[in-house]
């Protein structure tokens, strides 16, 4: 091993660890810490202040050029940072979604002024974003969106509805895919905008998920006027801009824009589950069922190990993908591989915990006996959304088969 490099990585790791100790909320990670209700104003504020701290410490925007508020630090530092963040667990950043997909989209398609105006405020946590793509009849078949935008002078008049919009509640800005030309062929009839959620004619309301919460919601447009300058990419090219957004969110923040910039695509999603294995083992070791520790049961043990192996495989797949992006040999479709495996693993990991905690897997937040305050059960249920959001597992398999392996389209 090159000792110089090892020392450098260890030094950086220590820097991050010390920073985390100094900056995480008081009592964080201890049983006394009381987390705010998910998706509440309090949780949102915590997320914003956490994002701001990371930004001020120079820990966000690794891939982003300095003129847009980024830090242009090496990918290995990002990898270590993400590892340490996932190891400690951190407050959820409301900007994570914004960072994942909005920056990627803007980097790829926005004007210079738009990049300068929006990216720094995403990084600093000042502005939150959401993604208005799906509609009741346009989910996997995104090209079928029915929300219309009609030009009127310097403005576009938007009518229609979006649904299943994550982070809908506190978003200051949103991405928006609209149909602008009813006569143009599929994929050529869409135009991409961004809009301010304080615009008249816009309204939103919650949709309850199977978790019981309303992480996602619905958005309605009733003659909402969007200035022409808020168009991203050209008129009729919205499909292609949307593809950049999807690739960026699937690869976990790097995506096509990172590929275009030749930077690391080492994504947040890829690392997020790594921290979990140690706690799985600890849990299995201390849990006795029918007279023996679960870790002493070969079947259990090996399934936990399998999760550890798959997490490492994802991690190094992410590294390889980042390299391929830098070299320009990645097509962007590889993001579907990383996304699918992550989502499926998240489910398996969630199920594993349920098996370990047995009868307690039924107890949700609020029950005094719930394990981890019901967090684990929540994660297991929430993981069911992971294989649906950002392109379902089936859609991503189609992409792998058709665009990577070149099999015929249906």
């Amino acid at each position: 091993m090159v000792t110089g490099e090892a020392e450098q990585t260890e030094a950086f790791r220590k820097e991050v660890r010390d920073w985390l100790i100094a900056n995480l909320p008081e009592k964080w990670g201890t049983p006394e810490y009381v987390a705010p209700e998910r998706f509440s104003q309090e949780a949102q504020d915590l997320g914003i202040s956490w994002t701001k701290r990371l930004y001020e410490a120079g820990y966000t925007g690794f891939n982003v050029p300095k003129e847009y508020g980024g830090i242009e630090r090496p990918g290995w530092q990002q990898a270590i940072l993400l590892e340490e963040l996932s190891r400690r667990g951190t407050p959820p950043g409301p900007q994570s979604l914004g960072q994942l997909m909005v920056i990627g989209t803007l980097m790829g398609w926005a004007s210079e002024e738009q990049k300068k105006r929006f990216i720094p405020k995403i990084l600093s946590g000042e502005e939150s974003w959401c993604e208005g793509f799906s509609e009741p009849n346009a989910g996997s078949d995104l090209a079928n969106v029915q929300t219309t935008a009609v030009r009127d002078g310097d403005e576009w008049v938007v009518n229609g509805q979006k649904c299943w919009t994550s982070m809908w509640k506190f978003a200051d800005w949103s991405l928006l895919v609209t149909k602008t030309d009813p006569n143009a062929p599929r994929h050529r009839n869409l135009t991409y905008f961004i809009f301010d959620t304080t615009t008249p004619g816009f309204s939103r309301r919650p949709l309850q998920q199977m978790t019981g919460e309303s992480e996602f919601g619905e958005m309605f447009f009733d003659d909402m006027r969007v200035p022409h300058e808020n168009m991203i990419g050209e008129e009729g090219r919205g499909w292609y801009v949307a593809m950049t957004t999807l690739a960026a969110e699937r690869s976990g923040g790097g995506g096509a824009a990172a590929a275009a910039m030749g930077l690391s695509g080492y994504g947040g999603l890829i690392v997020r589950t790594l921290g979990g294995v140690d706690s799985l083992i600890e849990l299995a070791k201390k849990t006795k069922r029918y007279g023996k520790s679960l870790w002493d049961d070969v079947t259990f043990r090996q399934r936990i190990v399998q999760i550890a192996i798959e997490n490492q495989a994802s991690r190094y797949y992410g590294t390889r993908l980042g390299i391929a992006m830098r070299k320009g040999t990645a097509s962007g479709n590889e993001a579907s591989i990383a996304k699918n495996s992550q989502a499926e693993q998240r489910k398996r990991q969630g199920d594993m915990v349920m098996e370990i905690i047995g009868a307690y897997s039924q107890l949700m937040r609020g029950d005094p006996r719930a394990i981890d305050g019901g967090e684990q059960v929540y994660n297991m249920i929430r993981s069911r959304g992971a294989t649906i959001e950002m392109g379902t597992s089936e859609i991503n398999r189609n992409i792998i088969a058709e665009r990577i392996l070149g099999l015929p389209r249906a």
Partner: protein
């Protein structure tokens, strides 16, 4: 982070060169000829490989090698797996050449490595016995001291390429204590000695022959002890580690090839008036094959880099790669047969060559379950 995944320019060249060479020199007609051959070794091909510097790839230049590294050896092994290369390359270089390089004395290196590099000799490892596992307690072939030589008696099983070998690295018990890992010694034994009796084992994978080897009063000089008297277990563990990384590389090469063959077939085979690649159930199976191989490659490259760098994560990385690749190759070759339908089940189709080699690769030096236990122990130890 000295771990470098992906390929550098020279490595791309090595890979392309190996692929082209094997496409010409090791087509499936040749593989099948070797399957039918009792020894399964072509001296002509052996010589050509030596001329390219393959056997001595990782040996130092002064010993006739090319001074390349372990990662390069894995790149070559991927291509060999892809071609289902028969013959004693793996046995000679990985099972014997590497341990001599790692543990041999200066004289031993001088004596054997140039001969391996030049293609003058082929070698193999005789370690397993009745249990079929590499487990210290199970090693009972004895070597008794007689003057300044030792005399070996007993039977080894699953000895790869024994008939092609000029030398066998034999694991024998030289001392018995309460610790079975103590008292094992490795000897470089001339395979042509009187008293060595080799018999075929009727193995599934005919591209990699295995034999029963019986030793009856076989003499070997104490100068031929590799890695110290009674200290052979550490050498065997190191062999298993590196061999597992190489076997993983072979599995990645083979699995990628099987995926390509299957996808190609899906683009040409017509049923119900359309190519079968139109059927989504099959597309998704193909996508799963591809993903498994991408992840296998990721772990394998990590493992190979760790071995190369002698990184503290090496044991974990190799265990994860071997376990994952072992599961993956079984899935991928199974799907490969299935998606080819009846023709995939025929002897004439090449799919079964990969199917069977895959089983060999998974089982050898510990299957995926064995490695999961190893990982479990390490993960548990890391907790505290």
């Amino acid at each position: 982070m000295a771990i470098e995944l992906g390929l550098k320019e020279e490595q791309e060249m090595l890979k392309t060169m190996a692929r082209d060479f094997l496409a010409n020199e090791c087509p499936k007609t040749f593989v099948r000829q070797m399957m039918d051959d009792e020894v399964g070794h072509s001296p002509e091909l052996w010589k050509k490989m030596a001329d390219l510097g393959w056997q001595g790839l990782v040996f130092p230049e002064e010993l006739g090698g090319s001074a390349m590294n372990f990662r390069d050896l894995c790149i070559l092994s991927e291509e060999m797996g892809r071609a289902v290369l028969p013959g004693p390359f793996y046995s000679t270089v990985v099972l014997v050449g590497l341990p001599i390089q790692d543990f041999g004395t200066e004289e031993q290196k001088q004596e054997f490595l140039p001969k391996i590099a030049s293609g003058e000799i082929a070698c193999t490892l005789a370690a397993l016995e009745e249990s079929g596992d590499l487990w210290a307690e199970d090693i009972s072939v004895k070597a008794l001291q007689r003057g300044d030589e030792y005399v070996i008696n007993g039977t080894k099983l699953f000895v790869t390429d024994a008939r092609a070998a000029d030398y066998m690295l034999v694991a024998a018990r030289t001392k018995r204590t309460s610790n079975p890992e103590e008292g094992i010694t490795l000897f470089m034994v001339n395979a042509k000695e009187w008293g060595i009796y080799i018999q075929n084992m009727n193995v599934m994978d005919l591209t990699r022959k295995q034999y029963e080897v019986r030793f009856t009063n076989v003499p070997v000089s104490s100068k031929n002890i590799i890695g110290g008297l009674n200290e052979g277990w550490a050498v065997l563990q190191q062999i298993a580690l590196k061999a597992s990384a190489v076997l993983s590389a072979e599995m990645v090469g083979a699995g990628e090839m099987v995926t390509e063959m299957t996808v190609d077939y899906m683009k040409e085979r017509v049923q119900f008036g359309v190519v079968i690649g139109t059927f989504q159930a099959l597309k998704h199976r193909a996508a799963d094959m591809h993903v498994l191989m991408e992840y296998s490659r990721s772990l394998m490259e990590w493992a190979a880099e760790c071995v190369k760098e002698d990184h503290p994560d090496t044991e974990m990385a190799v265990a994860m790669a071997k376990s994952y690749c072992g599961d993956a190759i079984k899935f991928v070759t199974d799907a490969g047969v299935q998606l080819h339908g009846g023709i995939g089940f025929t002897w004439d189709h090449d799919m079964h060559l990969y199917f069977k080699r895959g089983r060999y690769n998974d089982t050898t030096f510990g299957d995926s379950n064995y490695y999961k236990e190893l990982i479990a122990n390490r993960l548990e130890a890391n907790l505290i």
